[in-house]
Symmetry: C2
Subunit: 239 residues, 2 copies
């Protein structure tokens, strides 16, 4: 290894090294694996609040949920947006360490924690949903740390389009504030970046409806979608 004992000086990935990490998308979406009660939530309503006892795991049947926390100064972090099929609400301790709020009309399966582990299928899905959300966070951290506002928003839109399975046509359930608090940008910068995309013909917008137009954005999506579990085999098709 020529990059120093501690490998710190790695300004550019050299060929022959491991390809850069990208989130490989799961090949299938989980069905409704959790058993439990169905509950409906109106836009803006709280699924669970910070510090409440954590008794349930949730799976989204329809709609969108955001999980958030506030830092010491009252600044908000959006930890994730949870779309149809996705599972959220696992906690390490007896109480919730975040709050979960419905962004639109939302239907959830509410599954008691005990029940979630009794079923082998569900337990397996629970484990892999946690790993997926970890990997999603890891990828987001990458963009938060090194990405420009431009890259962050492009990543966000393409990722969302993929997860919603909506080829290039997204109905955003979240505000510019939400997106900002998710990507580490101010809502103003998010708005300005939307405008910049629109100006350059990359997207068209109508309020919260977004259509991804140009390949400059779609191509990034292709790159995200291209890698399956065989990343070790294929040559890294970068740049």
């Amino acid at each position: 290894m020529s990059a120093g004992l501690h490998g710190a000086v790695v300004p550019v990935a050299r060929s022959g090294e491991a390809p850069p990490a990208r989130l490989s998308r799961p090949d299938r979406r989980p069905g409704l694996v959790l058993n439990g009660t169905r509950r409906s939530f109106t836009p803006g309503s709280t699924v669970y609040a910070h510090s409440e006892p954590a008794e349930f795991i949730y799976q989204v049947v329809s709609g969108t949920v955001r999980t958030i926390t506030l830092n010491r100064e009252g600044r908000r972090i959006v930890h994730g947006f949870h779309l149809t099929g996705e599972i959220f609400g696992h906690e390490r301790e007896k109480h919730h360490h975040s709050s979960a709020e419905a962004l639109e009309r939302t239907c959830l399966i509410q599954c008691p924690k005990s029940l979630a582990n009794s079923n082998a299928d569900a337990a397996e899905e629970l484990w892999s949903s946690l790993l997926l959300s970890r990997d999603r966070t890891a990828e987001r951290v990458m963009y938060i740390i090194y990405g420009s506002a431009f890259e962050k928003l492009a990543y966000f839109l393409v990722d969302l389009a993929w997860r919603k399975d909506s080829s290039g046509r997204i109905d955003l359930p979240m505000s510019r504030y939400d997106i900002g608090d998710y990507l580490g940008l101010s809502s103003e910068t998010v708005s300005r970046t939307f405008t910049a995309f629109r100006t350059r013909g990359l997207i068209s917008t109508n309020a919260r409806q977004v259509r991804l137009l140009s390949d400059d954005i779609q191509r990034m999506g292709a790159r995200l979608r291209a890698d399956e579990d065989d990343a070790a085999v294929r040559p890294p098709t970068l740049t």
Copy 2:
């Protein structure tokens, strides 16, 4: 809730609301719960590389490991530092999505994935180690997004001191580059911030030995350590 339908305008946490999220430290450290082969690693050596088959889970017996990935431009992200007792290496798919490297002389237990789930105790510990690392990342994201260089480094040092159980006296196994790539700072800024801390009498340093001196840093540590699982019960003692 008066902060708008989508709860976006929350400039400051008002009293009566949920206290800001902080990572509650686990009340006990895991023992050596994983069974498997012990392996030793020299400083700078690779435990596993990106894209390699993921066959094992690891637990640190002694030493320190960092897990990293590179982004498309070759910039490095340090996802975590793994200290004595800590478990790492769980993957969602068949291959590793990060690389793991020993930072110093390090001894690990290498546990085959199959074996890890056979033992109920180990499976439980595996689950909670994954949740803990998720919570750790969530806290770090908070600092990456909203923290100044000052706050990031203070958080880093105090957290490390706590995890090493070394009251105010740390031997850093990682470089300034590593710290920067973990906190989203350039190594220069990390260095400058160390200097600023030293100048203000908050710490003293001798190469990679750090001693936390002033309460301005220790107090933040106390705050981190103060909250157990009863966060819902006690009044928030903030500021």
